[in-house]
């Protein structure tokens, strides 16, 4: 019982403790915190790890759902180069990126 309660407590304070753990153990934050990892190469390539799904996809706007935010990628001639369960790679002329909570 006690253990269960403890787990529940942990769940309540999830962001805090997890953040602390990742800081103390120097683990990559995106794994512990379940936030997306974005990697730009110039404005031509964007890889997003740890995403949940695509919401909208067109030449100009791509919206991607992640655990914490909704990403809105704007640009021209956008194209999904590859897509796997873990990673999505977008190419094209990216002009903007917006985090929508």
């Amino acid at each position: 019982m006690r253990r269960k309660r403890k787990k529940a407590e942990e769940a309540n304070e999830k962001p805090n403790i997890r953040e602390k753990i990742s800081k103390v153990l120097e683990l990559p934050e995106e794994i512990i915190l379940d936030v997306p990892k974005l990697q730009f190469i110039g404005n031509k390539d964007l890889s997003i790890e740890n995403y949940k799904g695509i919401i909208e996809y067109s030449d100009e706007i791509i919206r991607i759902n992640t655990k914490t935010h909704l990403l809105k990628i704007m640009g021209h001639k956008l194209e999904i180069k590859t897509i796997t369960e873990e990673e999505i790679l977008i190419t094209g002329d990216i002009t903007g990126l917006e985090f929508i909570a």
């Binding site: 909208e56 067109s58 180069k81 590859t82 897509i83 796997t84 999505i88």
Partner: protein, 396 residues
């Protein structure tokens, strides 16, 4: 990226067009079910084009049904499809294997022998000796035992200091180091004379043993006795000794040659033609019909291209290319000084090539005479100081 594309090509993929209103969902489901999609391009609001592996395509149907999308194949790419297309063409397959087998067969022989490092031993001599040892153009690679050949070559050619044979592909690299042969030396106990090797005037005479018969300042001719190994004294009678010593003499050399006061320049006009021929197993096939060359003056450049795979695999088919470049011949007269200068240089170089051993040049002289208006005769005389004594065995 090239490697990835190559991988896809080998595995095979299809380009498909998906039509429907829930394309994002379609992609999401594919990603979740671990179907790898790439190059997804949105054509318009309700169609997109994408690439998917063959395996993935087979699992696409339920997803398409679920998202109410229509899937249409645009093209099929990759090796599996090519193989499928040619599955009934047995001769084609046989041809491929024959080709590979022929290539394999052809490359299991030595087609080229490259010799490096030889200075005095001629290439032909080395090649003929190699052939007798079992390495020649056309010998089977597996049958060549390099170690024994190297040993036999060392035994056969006295002038070799070292030989290294390396077979790479269809090429045999033969590397040679020549032995510097020691001059023949007479044993100390064999009696001998010292005679002159060349004409000259004796400048310096140092005799360690033997009886000198000439003195400094004497003019000697080739073959003349300089130091005698026969000692005749009244006390001991006739004695034979091994003469030793150094005889330095002034010697003269003369070279002459005619030179023209006209220099011809060959200026390419830019016109050129090429002719090709193919050699296979010693037979030449010309790839041209008429053999005439339309130029009056031309330079001919010949290239031989061996067909090869990579650097070392040579296939015994040679493509000859003869290139004819038209030139305009232009004659220009040069001044006497220039002709003399250039002529002197060529004569000097020729002279230095001819003489061997230690030689000290004391004096050089150049003269010219007119043969006719356009030709001069250059006479180049050199005065040298060199060792002229050589030992000669006394036959008793």
């Amino acid at each position: 990226m090239f490697l990835v594309n190559l991988f896809h090509f080998i595995k095979g993929y299809v380009v498909i067009v998906v039509e429907g209103y829930y394309l994002e969902r379609f992609i999401n489901i594919c990603a979740r079910r671990q179907l790898y999609l790439w190059d997804i391009k949105k054509m318009n609001g309700y169609t997109m084009r994408l690439k998917i592996s063959i395996k993935g395509f087979k699992r696409l149907r339920p997803i398409a049904y679920k998202t109410k999308c229509k899937v249409r194949i645009l093209t099929k790419n990759g090796i599996p499809f090519i193989l499928y297309r040619y599955r009934k063409r047995k001769t084609f397959l046989v041809g491929i294997f024959l080709f590979i087998a022929l290539l394999w067969y052809m490359t299991s022989f030595i087609w080229v022998i490259e010799i490096t490092g030889n200075e005095n031993i001629s290439k032909e001599e080395i090649l003929s000796n190699l052939e007798m040892c079992g390495l020649k153009v056309g010998s089977y690679k597996m049958g060549v035992d390099i170690d024994t050949i190297q040993d036999n070559m060392m035994l056969r050619l006295n002038k070799l200091a070292w030989i290294g044979i390396e077979v790479k592909g269809t090429k045999a690299y033969v590397e040679i180091k020549e032995r510097r042969l020691a001059p023949p030396i007479l044993e100390r106990h064999i009696p001998c004379n010292i005679v002159a090797a060349k004409d000259g005037v004796i400048k310096n005479l140092v005799v360690k043993s033997g009886q000198p018969v000439v003195k400094e300042g004497d003019t000697v001719t080739k073959g003349q006795l300089l130091v005698s190994g026969v000692l005749n004294s009244q006390v001991e009678g006739v004695r034979y000794v091994h003469s030793m010593g150094s005889v330095k003499a002034r010697t003269w050399y003369e070279k002459s040659k005619e030179f023209k006061l006209i220099k011809t320049n060959r200026i390419p006009t830019g016109n050129e033609m090429k002719r090709y021929a193919i050699t296979f197993l010693g037979k030449t096939i010309n790839l041209y019909i008429n053999s005439g060359i339309p130029y009056e003056n031309y330079d001919k450049i010949t290239y031989d291209n061996e067909l090869r795979l990579g650097k070392d695999y040579i296939i015994p088919i040679t493509v000859h290319c003869e290139q004819y470049k038209e030139v305009a011949v232009e004659e220009k007269s040069i001044s006497l000084e220039q002709a003399v200068e250039e002529g002197t240089q060529t004569l000097q170089q020729e002279f230095l090539k001819e003489v061997s051993g230690e030689i000290e040049i004391l004096n050089e002289n150049i003269e010219h005479i007119f043969v006719d208006e356009q030709t001069i005769l250059l006479k180049y005389t050199v005065e040298c100081m060199e060792e002229i004594g050589i030992q000669e065995k006394i036959e008793i």
